[in-house]
Amino acid sequence: MTLGEPDLEALARGCAVFGGGGGGDPTLGYVMAREAIRRNGPVPVVDLDELPDDGLILPVAMVGAPTVIEEKIPNGSEGERIQAVYERHFGRPVVAFAVAELGGVEGMLPVAWAAHARLPLADCDLMGRAFPEIHMCTPNLHGLPIGPVVVTDERGNIATFTSIDAAWAERLVRPTCTAMGSCASLAIYPMTAARARGAVVRGSLTRAVQVGRLLEAGDPVAVLEAEVGAVRLIEGKVADVERWTTQGFARGSAVIEGFGDDAGRLLRLEFQNENLVALLDGEVVASVPDVITVLDHGGGAVVSERLRYGQRVTVISFPCHPAWRTATGLGLVGPRAWGYDLDYVPVERIHAARA
């Protein structure tokens, strides 16, 4: 597959759905990618099998507050700068960029970096969805090292971290990011194509484009039921949104008041950037790591920071990548990892029990 200007919209739509409320507004990433493609041409998307075993792959992302990224747009040269640092470090060329996090800006940004650097994108990502912290990646479950992590800002500052583990990398990167103005670009889990094959979520870009294309045409709920096994949680109006910030994360809670068939029901959505837990009338109906996505009536996914009173929305949830459902996976990103005193139950099982 080659990502040209016409495919970007589908990719953005798809990424937003997989982002589960996180990952920022895809439009910005979309425009960045489009500008880069207009300047430098389309970006090939290649399967990991097609890349040389020892070819270096760089998963890239932005860290920081989504609202900041929407205001302080990158310079454009960040990807190339990161690439140069790694090539110096490993002494061999980077063969492809990759998407670290499948969501909003994060899914689109690597397209821009790849176009600027005239490199392909590997058809994979490290989460199969969006998570707020850089150690919440599937390679972590396979014991791959996160570093060296290279962080850069629009001014050209560069910081390189070699940490003892992924959690430490997160701890080191965050204050650097804050110092850079609460948004920065970085690469994590630099790895060879061979090691990547068993450790990442594969085919995610082609899947996101596929879902995005179908969403443009069809009924969003039906499309997502068929494509990703989505379950419809409620259709209604946003009746309350409450937000607070702790430790740099935008946390919040929204209440969706059902209408139509769902009249009389209330869905409480707990989010910390990403949507994490959905309670229908006090009963857990979906929880992290399964993906919970709020769709507006145009079929587009609404990122949590854009949730607003009065919006009419449909909330859906679908299963996460199986790697997250293992004991290690749940230890890293299960409900308790976010401070929710709940046992994880796969969304499709909850749904079957309710039906």
Binding site: A239, D240, S253, V255, L266, R268, E270, V277, L279, D281, G282, E283, V284, Y340, D341
Partner: protein, 500 residues
């Protein structure tokens, strides 16, 4: 068994347990349980009151409270009590879930001894004489407190009924059997009775004693109330209103009381009269609404006036608001301008608050004493009348010669007015043209000088005694009471009208 509402009234809890929501307060509670761990909610039986211990209460926030409410409803728990500070805002889902599960959500103030509370609740649930004694004790302390709480007999009876958890009636002895009653003696005669139902057990003795205590307390309160009615306590505003509308003889007593109320009645005054014109239009067919609007306007007016500094009081009824600016030391006529500025501010603020309100505003002159106060009020009214003739709204119109002249001209143009001026001044006219003119000049100077002989003498360039003599003579001839501002004003108008 007891309802949630009854449990909330348990005297020994002293109000430490209160509802968070007005939901399910009529539910029957069968048992009480304390929960240390949020996850142990599968233990309490249906119909119980579940109290979450401190740690558990702290944890029961956000989504956890939602989950908890749902689980509690599923187990048919009657009420859930959290140890918490008052909640500033209740999450939407909490209210909904409680409502849906018909579950009472209660709060226990931190610092309450939970063990004691549970015992008190258990006793209440068990019922019997102990419970009655407990309640009677609470009733007695209420009765002792009645004066301090300023309760009237009906309110006291109501509160006692609440504390007793039984019906208590005030009035004739109820028909039917099983009632215990005690009379309230008023001036030695039985008035209404207080009654409650007996159950034929020993507990009735307690009830009888309680009724007698209640009756004698009611008697005490009633006679105190009657004494108080002899000296109706009036607010300053009511008093001033009366002062400004009552005839002079009756107002002497009011003046005295005004002094007692610290109203600087003997000082100098300017009255600002505000007439709220279109209340009925703003709140058509809604008298209460119009009344509330007038109240609001009055309050805003008073606050705005006070914000300009100085001593202000208010009076007035219905759509008329009088603001009275008073000074303890002698105030010159120039202060009317200062008051006018304040009045403009008042009008502005009132209208900012009630945008389409139409206000007429007149400001009287500076006058001294209680008579001066009334004069200023009358002048303020005259100024409004002047404003009315030229259709000026929402501005402060001062009682001044220009405005007055205009009014006078219009007024004097009326046959009736000319007749009454002629009638009023007729005794002077009979003195002959020259003497009559001199008398009217003297009278006008005196009236214009706010009844000050020395100032009138200055103006007329006469000796003070001459003026005093003439004035005395003139008032005798006219048969006018110099202490009556209304008559004085009429005279003043008549004098001026003559000079037009």
């Amino acid at each position: 068994m007891a309802t949630v509402a009854e449990l909330l009234r348990i005297p020994r809890l002293g109000g430490a347990m209160e509802p968070v929501l007005p939901v399910a307060l009529d539910r029957q509670v069968e048992s009480v349980a304390v929960l240390e761990d949020l996850h142990a909610l599968n233990t309490p039986p249906p119909g119980s009151l579940v109290i979450l211990a401190r740690t558990a209460s702290r944890e029961a926030v956000g989504y956890r409270l939602d989950v908890l409410l749902r689980q509690a409803s599923a187990r048919d728990v009657a009420a859930l009590a959290l140890v918490r500070e008052p909640l500033p805002r209740l999450h939407r889902t909490v209210a909904e879930l409680a409502q849906r599960g018909n579950l009472a959500l209660l709060r226990i103030a931190p610092g309450t001894g939970l063990a004691d509370a549970v015992i008190a609740i258990q006793q209440e649930l068990a019922g019997g004489v102990n419970r009655l004694l407990d309640r009677a004790r609470a009733c007695l302390s209420l009765i002792d407190e009645a004066e301090r709480l300023q309760l009237g007999p009906p309110a006291l009876v109501e509160r006692v009924a609440e504390a007793l958890g039984d019906e208590v009636r005030l009035g004739p002895i109820p028909a039917g059997r099983g009632w215990l009653s005690a009379p309230i003696l008023i001036d030695g005669e039985p008035g209404p009775w207080v009654s409650t139902r007996g159950d034929g057990t020993d507990a009735d003795t307690v009830r009888r004693l309680l009724l007698h205590r209640l009756a004698s307390a009611a008697e005490r309160l009633e006679s105190a109330r009657q004494r108080a009615a002899d000296v109706p306590v009036q607010t300053r505003a009511e008093l001033l209103t009366e002062l400004l509308i009552r005839e002079p003889p009756a107002s002497r007593d009011l003046v005295h009381r005004a002094r007692q109320l610290d109203i600087p009645i003997d000082g100098w005054h300017v009255v600002v009269r505000l007439e709220l014109e279109n209340l009925a239009e703003l709140r058509p067919d809604d008298e209460m609404g119009a009344f509330n609007l007038a109240q609001l306007a009055t309050r805003v007016a008073m606050e705005s006036a006070r914000s300009t500094g100085g001593t202000w009081n208010r009076a007035g009824t219905g759509s008329t608001v009088l603001l009275i600016r008073s000074w303890q030391t002698e105030a010159g006529p120039e202060l009317q301008g200062e008051v006018a500025k304040a009045a403009e501010l008042v009008i502005g603020r009132v209208r900012a608050r009630i945008p389409r309100l139409s206000i007429r505003c007149g400001i009287g002159g500076v006058h001294v004493g209680s008579v001066g106060l009334r004069t200023s009020a009358l002048e303020a009214r005259a100024a409004i009348a002047a404003a009315l003739t030229v259709g000026r709204r929402n501005v402060a119109v001062r009682f001044d010669s220009t405005g007055l002249r205009r009014v006078l001209l219009q007024w004097y143009a009326l046959d009736d007015a000319r007749d009454s001026v002629a009638r009023l001044l007729e005794p002077l006219d009979r003195l002959g043209e020259r003497r009559s003119r001199e008398a009217i000049r003297t009278l006008r100077a005196y009236l214009d000088a706010h009844l000050s002989l020395s100032r009138a003498a200055e103006v007329l360039e006469l000796h003070r005694n001459t003026v005093a003599y003439r004035i005395q003579r003139i008032f005798e001839l006219l048969e006018v009471d110099p202490d009556d501002p209304e008559q004085c004003l009429m005279l003043q108008l008549a004098c001026r009208a003559r000079e037009l």
